[in-house]
């Protein structure tokens, strides 16, 4: 009995029950199916014409699958053989709807099922395999070259980025070095200035400090100068304001004069903008009794002994407690 002869509402529980593995119902269904199909065996046989067999066998032998499969039959036999060996233990399964006539009967008349010839399938297998291999190879090559291109682009970008970083680092280093040099120079200048101030402070605070106020002996009082002299360190500082520029080819020269009228050359100076002059001069260590200081105009480069007229003159005085 064909299961599909009953309604869909009746089929579903029956199919589900048989599929669940009930041996009793599966056996009864198989028996009913066998009885049902035996009805066809009651018909007297009719021998087909020879041409029918020829048509079939020509069709079969024309397929390349026949020769190919005949060379290795065991590979295809295995599933059927395995099914045969397990037939007794396998629960009865309902025949597929496509094989059941009643199911077909209820369906509307459809076009004949197109059966793909096996030979044509075997003919397409190598083509499809080759196409698949080519496609996979193309994908692999594409992936490789794409990845390699990306790698090269990334490497190029990385190099460019590294170059930019190096250039930037070099610029920063250059700027840093320049700034460092500037800071060092400024620091050195400030340090020198500080040392100078410290030195001046030490000079001013020493008890060996002596002071001289220089004036013009016979001239306007606008031009004047001051000199500090440290007899312990043998150094003097000269500062002047309102000085006139010396005549061409001439220069001012400072002299230290001892009590014995020995004239010691302290240094030469020109006049800057505003007539201001600041200079420091070392005094020979063996000179201790300086009593006067004077400024004369001498030939450019200075001279060993004063020859020109005295422009400024002052008496060196000892300060009682320093500054």
């Amino acid at each position: 009995m064909a299961v599909s002869d009953i309604t869909d509402a009746e089929q579903s529980p029956l199919r589900a029950h048989v599929a669940s593995g009930c041996p009793r119902c599966a056996g009864r269904l198989a028996e009913a199916q066998s009885v049902y199909e035996q009805i066809g065996l009651s018909l007297p046989p009719i021998t087909p014409q020879d041409s029918v067999k020829s048509r079939l066998m020509d069709k079969v032998r024309a397929t390349p699958a026949n020769a190919a499969a005949a060379a290795a039959p065991s590979a295809v036999v295995a599933p059927v053989a395995a099914a045969s060996s397990t037939a007794a233990a396998t629960p009865y399964k309902l025949p597929p709807a496509g094989v059941d006539g009643a199911a077909r009967a209820r369906a509307p008349a459809a076009a004949p099922r197109a059966t793909a010839p096996v030979g044509r399938m075997w003919f397409y297998v190598p083509m499809i395999s080759s196409a698949a291999l080519l496609l996979i190879s193309a994908m692999l090559f594409y992936g490789y070259f794409n990845a390699y291109g990306n790698y090269r682009r990334a490497r190029k970008n990385q190099r460019q980025h590294n170059r930019q970083l190096a250039m930037q680092a070099a610029a920063w280093q250059k700027k840093y070095q320049a700034a460092k040099a500037g800071w060092q120079s400024k620091f050195a200048a400030e340090n020198a200035s500080l040392k100078r101030v410290q030195s001046q402070m030490r000079l001013l605070t020493t008890p060996h400090l002596k002071l001289a106020a220089l004036h013009v002996p016979k001239g306007p009082a606008a031009m004047h100068a001051t000199m500090l002299y440290n007899s312990a360190q043998h150094v003097c500082f000269f500062s002047a304001k309102g000085m006139k520029a010396p005549p061409a080819g001439k220069i001012y020269e400072v002299w230290l004069i001892t009590k014995k009228q020995v004239k010691i050359r302290a240094g030469i100076f020109g006049v800057g903008p505003g007539g201001t002059v600041n200079m420091m001069a070392h005094v020979p260590a063996n000179i201790h009794d300086i009593s006067l200081t004077a400024v004369t105009i001498e030939p450019a480069g200075g001279v060993a002994q004063p020859t020109g007229a005295i422009q400024l003159l002052g008496k060196v005085l000892k300060m009682p407690n320093g500054v």
Binding site: M1, S4, P48, L56, A69, Y92, R104
Partner: protein
């Protein structure tokens, strides 16, 4: 490759396995063994020899291409071939609109060729004996049972369609078919037991 002589005595299941392995000689043997029975079924459904032979070729071609679909757990190879042939014949019948007869009487069957399908005299005799037993079992069915079973088997009608065609209630149709098949089963079973006792 087996020789034709050796393959002629091979059982159906082995033949199906060899067909699944695309052994053309096995298919030829299977054809020689059952083409007459299957063609009779096709003729019974279609009543046109050209259509019946065309369906027969298609059935064996389908077996050749899809023999691996055969599941021995579902039944014997002959049952599979009968089911497949009946389905294809009914499909063809519905397409061409042929009108089959509605009787299971053997006298109405086309009998222009009654040569047996068996490939040896022993099988020939066994098939003939089986056919007689089935015909005897069918003859014991009531007329409504035979008619409803025939409509179901040869025309592929569902119970509802049979009820519409015969103007019988659906429950009655189901009862006729069910009781007819039970009776047919019991008759065949009794025939088998009697044959065993005789042997």
């Amino acid at each position: 490759m087996q020789s034709e002589t050796s393959i002629a005595g091979t059982d159906d299941l082995t033949l199906m396995q060899q067909v699944a392995a695309h052994d053309a000689m096995a298919l030829e043997t299977l054809y020689d063994r059952y083409s007459s029975t299957l063609l009779a079924l096709c003729m019974r459904v279609l009543h046109r020899r050209d259509q019946a032979e065309d369906v027969l070729i298609n059935v064996f071609w389908e077996v050749w291409n899809r023999a691996e679909r055969y599941n021995p757990a579902r039944g014997a190879p002959l049952t599979y071939l009968m089911t497949l042939t009946r389905c294809r014949a009914i499909d063809r019948h519905r397409r061409i609109g042929a009108t089959p007869t509605t009787s299971l009487d053997a006298q109405e069957y086309p009998t222009e060729s009654v040569q047996t399908e068996a490939d040896n005299p022993l099988n020939q005799a066994a098939c003939a004996e089986q056919r007689v037993r089935i015909q005897a079992a069918i003859s014991h069915l009531s007329a409504p049972q035979r008619m409803t079973i025939e409509l179901s088997f040869f025309e592929g009608l569902s119970h509802v369609e049979i009820a519409e065609k015969t103007k019988l209630p659906l429950g009655t149709v189901k009862s006729h078919i069910r009781l007819g098949l039970i009776q047919l089963r019991d008759s065949l079973r009794n025939e088998d037991e009697a044959a065993k006792d005789l042997s």
